[in-house]
């Protein structure tokens, strides 16, 4: 099958969905410019022009509500945030309106807003430009939240989002944008709530989201050299979460590591651990390990930034620890983002 990059898959999904549905309008700061949000809106702008790919003023707060107003009256807005951190300003519209619209008004219709948010990574983007908000968004009933880790899922989940009757937040890690993979040229959807086994294994389950799926796979490669077979589960969807897939895997391996780029406390990693603990803690032959961010805001200084972010090495160490092996014996592994110099 043809291979394309993650950012191209997003662009292709956007164009194909817009071709099929004239109600879809892309809106975001700079979606029409020469950079085209890292190339993800370039083709849509070339194809549909400013009427359907609209540059908007800097006003995330109002725009979330504007998108709800448009979505509840027949439009299908796809709102693009070049950093998900800017979505903090949009949260009233997302949480108090979009997520509740259907329920609060007696199930007479939803607010089918799709919001893309890019998680910054690398080059010292720091405390306010590199936060992963999946745990936060995942908390609210009424929202769908997805974190595509592969080019194919980037396309399929976006196309599914653009057909959804309810609001969807898509979080894309900047570190994945240049990643290439096989993607069908035909339009297709990936359903929400279905994870995937990114790598089959028998000894330990690593549940991961987004960029951490790749770190987990690199850790699995290193573990394989030591005769350990790690299974990597890509959740793909944060809300709903594929409980069944996680439970089925942990039932086989008896060991659980959760790898995520949000914080451990009250986060995705805590949620996955809770799903297992609530279902049958007897499945676990060892305690759960959470591989997440250090419990502080993101620092800029690069040695701190490296220590702050979880990576393949920390996943590897956690797995070895659960298997009763000396973590200190693992190889040194560099972060996937090493060498990243922008554009950010």
């Amino acid at each position: 099958m043809r291979k394309i990059a993650y950012f191209q898959a997003i662009g292709e999904a956007t164009v194909q969905a817009m071709e099929a549905d004239p109600r879809i309008v892309v809106a975001g700061q700079g979606v029409d410019d020469h950079k085209g949000v890292y190339g993800t809106t370039t083709d849509a702008f070339a194809r549909f022009g400013p009427a359907r790919v609209r540059d908007i003023p800097n006003g995330e707060n109002a725009f979330a509500g504007i998108a709800v107003g448009a979505a509840t009256t027949g439009m299908r807005p796809l709102v693009v945030h070049t950093r998900d951190d800017f979505m903090f300003l949009a949260m009233d519209g997302i949480f108090n309106l979009a997520a509740k619209w259907r329920y609060m008004f007696g199930d007479r219709g939803g607010a089918p807003v799709v919001m893309r948010g890019i998680v910054g990574r690398g080059w010292g983007q720091g405390a306010t430009h590199s936060q992963s908000l999946q745990s936060l968004f995942g908390h609210f009933p009424g929202l769908y939240v997805v974190t595509p880790a592969s080019p194919s899922d980037a396309k399929g989940l976006l196309m599914n989002a653009l057909r959804s009757e309810d609001p969807v937040v898509i979080l894309e890690n900047r570190g994945l944008y240049e990643l290439t993979g096989e993607v069908s040229e035909e339009p297709f959807t990936v359903p929400f709530g279905k994870g995937r086994i990114a790598r089959a294994g028998t000894d330990v389950t690593v549940v991961a989201a987004s960029l951490m799926v790749h770190e987990a796979e690199r850790a699995a490669d290193a573990l394989a050299l030591r005769g350990v077979r790690a299974e990597v589960v890509d959740v793909r969807s944060i809300r709903p979460l594929d409980d069944a897939l996680i439970l089925e895997s942990v039932a086989r391996t008896g060991r659980l590591v959760v790898a995520d780029t949000s914080w451990a406390r009250y986060g995705l990693a805590a949620e996955v651990a809770a799903v297992v603990a609530e279902h049958d803690p007897g499945m676990l032959r060892a305690p759960v390990r959470r591989v997440t961010l250090a419990d502080c805001p993101a620092p800029v200084s690069w040695p701190l930034e490296e220590a702050f972010n979880p990576g393949a090495e920390s996943v590897l160490h956690a797995c070895l620890e659960l298997l009763g092996e000396e973590p200190g014996n693992g190889p040194r592994m560099e972060h996937v983002m090493k060498g990243f110099v922008g554009p950010y």
């Binding site: 410019d33 003023p57 720091g126 200084s301 690069w302």
Partner: protein
């Protein structure tokens, strides 16, 4: 090497600054940013996104020269010029760009999170419009009687932000609050016409200025040429007097233009992002050149002095770069330090 002559801005009294001092301060900032830009591009060791103010120096210099040390300035992402104009420590800024422990934010914050409280530079931040609110809150403190009893009579808060940030809701909510309570805050909008690559026409209705909107909140507001450092300085002195006398907030919209790309050291008009003719016409209105030309009539030695200041500034920033590189990184064992008070 002779000791580096420092520009005498900001002043510590309320008198007008000499044009030569304003020019000197602009030259120093221009040279600092150009030098940092070259090193940033060539070395790739300052791992933090940087937004240069090259071409916009008159706004920061003209305004900050009208302030007292104890007045607090707040900036946005494009904050180096404001930090330096307010007297922020150059060594600490450069060390911050290199992520060193000696940085003004201890290597935690990077280019967009500068602070130097001793110099009266409160903070800068990269989420649009945030500091408009924070400066308003600082002005609220400064309006309270307890702040006066500390011997800091009539401090004011100043915030710099772009035309793009004025579109955020926080701009409107802050101006409303400041006007309602007659807070001593000076809002300085550096209107460089662009937000990333989006021109004003794509973002704001034609025929209505940001100044008009500030007036809509009952705030005294003026719009002027932000590349004319004397005009900016005079307007700022009037604005500062207004705020200090308890007559409420003041708003200045300063028209200017950035020469480099939005973020990073390169030019962007070669890529067709902005009309090359616009960039060139604004470069002809260079604030440094205009101030130099204005002085030439009365001060025939000005070109030689500018050359000296340029050399000195280059030496000063190169020394700051060397010092930063020789400084240690923060210890990884201190990663969590500063999350809470200890």
């Amino acid at each position: 090497m002779s000791p580096v002559e420092q520009p005498r801005t900001p002043r510590q009294d309320d008198g007008p600054a000499d044009l030569a001092d304003l020019l000197h301060a602009m030259v120093r900032i221009r040279v600092a940013e150009e030098t940092i830009g070259d090193v940033y591009r060539d070395e790739q060791e300052m791992r933090t996104p940087v937004h240069f103010s090259i071409g916009q120096e008159a706004t920061a210099v003209g305004v900050c020269a009208a302030l007292r040390r104890e007045d607090l300035v707040y900036g946005g992402h494009r904050c180096h010029a404001q930090y330096l104009a307010k007297g922020g420590d150059l060594d600490a800024m450069v060390a911050e760009l290199y992520g060193r422990r000696t940085g003004c934010a201890a290597g935690r914050g990077g280019s967009v999170h500068l602070t130097d409280l001793e110099a009266g530079f409160g903070a800068s931040s990269a989420i649009l419009g945030e500091m408009i609110a924070v400066a308003t809150g600082a002005a609220w403190t400064f309006a309270e009687p307890f702040d006066r009893t500390e011997g800091r009579l009539g401090r004011i808060a100043v915030t710099f932000f772009g035309d793009g940030a004025s579109e955020e809701g926080v701009f409107h909510e802050s101006l409303n609050f400041a006007s309602l309570h007659r807070l001593p805050v000076l809002y300085v909008c550096e209107n460089n016409q662009y937000s990333l690559s989006s021109g004003l026409a794509a973002r704001q209705p034609a025929g209505h200025s940001i100044t008009d909107r500030a007036r809509g909140y009952g705030i005294t507001a003026r719009r002027l040429d932000g590349n004319d450092v004397v005009a900016v300085h005079e307007a700022a002195r009037e604005a500062v007097r207004h705020c200090r006398e308890g007559r409420g907030p003041y708003f200045l919209e300063l028209d200017t233009y950035r020469w480099r790309e939005h973020v990073g050291p390169n030019r962007d008009h070669e890529q067709g992002v902005r009309p090359a003719a616009d960039v060139e016409s604004w470069m002809r209105r260079c604030p440094v050149r205009r101030a130099t030309e204005a002085l030439r009539a009365t001060d025939p030695g000005i070109d030689a002095r500018v050359a000296t200041w340029t050399r000195q500034a280059r030496a000063e920033v190169n020394a700051a770069i060397d010092a930063a590189k020789a400084s240690p990184f923060p210890a990884v064992s201190d990663l969590l330090t500063g999350t809470y008070a200890t």
